[in-house]
């Protein structure tokens, strides 16, 4: 809420309706239209500028191909079916790793949030592991699982695990004691306590962590595919650069961006369905 600018006439300060109050529907409509057109216009303008720069040869279009070239190339590859194996490979790894990491992170976060002894035992260790860049663990996973899907999935799972673990633990710890007390007085069993109090009370913040993790999962899989994979979008991006196919490289980058946005939006929509009581758009600014 912004403050209303004071309006003066003589020695009297007058508070009176502004345009927003006099024409609420119109003001709202205009505001929405403006927001929507800005959201479309700014990216569009930047793409047009890029297109112009490439066609006018301000930039080297062999290194930075024009958006139209990238689009045409992407369309051709998609139509020919060359693109889908890589997209599918990446998607499979992300989803598998995400599922494992979320489940493990949630379980451990819940346990550590509710039992202080478990927390005392594991927190220093996990805190230390948390700060290690997960990509640095890839060699270990390669040794563990050999080549193939194993190390890729493990890397995504490890990354996601830490985000979900931390947000779950802090969410459970910040549940007001009054919520637990009310259940305890009624004699709730541990399972009832989880089902009626801990799960719903922690869910909104857990979902914020899960949403952030969704974006990071895509980020990390692309990096690891560049290092140790024979397919996937990360491999496509790196490989095509090595073959001087810069337009293919950009097609890969665009695919990654679309994949990341769609994935984290799906998690957000799922979260909204799961927590109808929570304020909307939580964590939008935090991700």
């Amino acid at each position: 809420m912004t403050t209303v600018a004071p309006e003066k006439s003589g020695a009297v300060l007058i508070r009176r309706p502004g345009p927003q109050e006099l024409h609420p529907a119109r003001t709202h409509r205009r505001r929405r239209a403006l927001e929507l057109s800005l959201a479309v216009a700014v990216p569009l303008l930047l793409i047009l500028l890029w297109q112009l720069a490439a066609t006018q040869a301000w930039i080297d279009d062999r290194v930075y191909p024009a958006p139209s070239t990238i689009l045409a190339d992407g369309w051709d590859r998609a139509a020919a079916g060359d693109l889908w194996p890589d997209v599918w490979a990446t998607l499979k790894r992300v989803l598998a790793g995400y599922a494992i990491g979320t489940a493990a992170g949630y379980a451990l976060g819940l346990l550590m949030g509710s039992l202080s002894l478990v927390r005392a035992a594991l927190e220093p260790l996990l805190d230390a592991l948390y700060v290690v860049p997960k990509l640095a663990l890839l060699p270990i996973f390669l040794n563990m699982f050999g080549l193939g899907e194993g190390p890729q999935v493990a890397l995504v799972a490890a990354t996601v695990f830490f985000f979900v673990w931390i947000s779950t633990m802090s969410a459970v710890m910040s549940i007001p004691s009054g919520h637990r007390d009310a259940g305890r007085v009624f004699g709730a069993s541990p399972w009832q306590m989880f089902r009626h109090v801990l799960l719903p009370a922690s869910l909104p913040s857990v979902l914020v962590g899960a949403r952030i993790a969704a974006g990071v999962a895509v980020l990390v899989i692309v990096a690891s595919e560049q290092i140790a994979a024979t397919n996937g979008l990360g491999h496509l991006i790196f490989d095509s650069r090595a073959l001087f196919q810069n337009d293919v490289m950009f097609v890969g980058i665009v695919c990654v961006a679309v994949l990341g946005v769609v994935f984290s939006e799906l998690v957000r929509i799922l979260g909204r369905l799961l927590t109808p009581w929570a304020p909307r758009d939580r964590g939008r600014g935090q991700s």
């Binding site: 403050t3 209303v4 020695a11 009297v12 300060l13 007058i14 508070r15 009176r16 309706p17 609420p24």
Partner: protein, 259 residues
């Protein structure tokens, strides 16, 4: 009150004031239409059921919100004549007590030396001198609200707006702070709009008590507590006090109880 045109000399004058929230088809009428005239130096208490638009009226007066229709005029030469005291969250945890009291003066760019002097004066007056360098988190609820009062009054506002300032305090502390506020406002004669749920509080403090209806809030009754100024908290045991309180409660009960 025999003046046929009180609005000419009024400090604050509201005409056909309304406020709605939301957009069609889900529009909530929060306030009014409401007409109100407040004389300079008058202490007006507003009582009414929860959600009747009392706070909305105060926020319009403060300039935080615009009315949907009608106008509210404040006779002043200043662009920001009002200070507001909130029920909670009004004072900042990251500022010391003295810095909190000085906040309004800092915003008005009063020189530091003078601002400190004025803040210290108010701290002494509110019995907070020993806590000048403490952080609010270490204070009790009553102390915190004294800080809020000192902060509002330190800028010497022409219009003091109080939104249920004592609602979060316990009953004893509430009475003590009412008595303190009574003493201060009788000395300063600042024009005040005071919102409360407590009829007792309204009668103790107010020159005038306005009873508001359920949403959308309109003024349904007006009473002048018949206790001469300067008054003290002793009037609480006056038989007239009790009968006025009962009279107001009869009115309010019809509004507060859902039909």
């Amino acid at each position: 009150m025999g003046d046929p045109h009180p609005e000419i000399h009024a400090k604050l004058h509201a005409t056909d004031l309304t406020r709605t929230f939301g957009r069609p088809p889900r529009v909530v009428d929060a306030l009014g239409p409401l007409d109100l005239t407040v004389a300079p130096g008058e202490f007006v208490c507003l009582v009414g059921p929860s959600g009747c638009g009392k706070s909305t009226l105060l926020r319009i007066a403060a300039g935080l919100l615009r009315p949907s229709t009608g106008t509210l005029e404040i006779r002043t030469v200043s662009a920001r004549p009002a200070a507001m005291i909130f029920q909670d969250y009004g004072i900042y945890d990251w500022k010391t007590v003295r810095a909190n009291v000085r906040f309004g003066l800092d915003i008005q760019r009063v020189p530091r030396r003078e601002a400190n002097a004025r803040a210290d004066e108010w701290l002494a007056r509110m019995g907070l001198a020993d806590f000048a360098h403490a952080y609010p988190a270490t204070l009790s609820g009553g102390m915190r609200q004294r800080v809020a009062i000192a902060r509002a009054l330190a800028v010497e506002p022409e219009l003091l707006l109080m939104d249920e300032p004592f609602a979060a305090l316990d009953a004893q502390l509430r009475m003590i702070l009412q008595d303190e506020l009574l003493e201060i406002t009788q000395a300063l004669r600042t024009t005040t709009l005071f919102i409360t749920h407590s009829l007792e509080e309204a009668i103790v403090l107010g020159d005038r008590v306005l009873v508001m209806s359920a949403r959308p809030g309109r003024i349904i009754a007006e009473h002048h507590p018949p206790f001469p100024r300067p008054r003290t908290g002793d009037i609480r045991s006056d038989p007239e006090f009790t009968s006025l309180k009962r009279e107001l409660w009869e009115l309010l009960r019809k509004e507060a109880a859902p039909a």
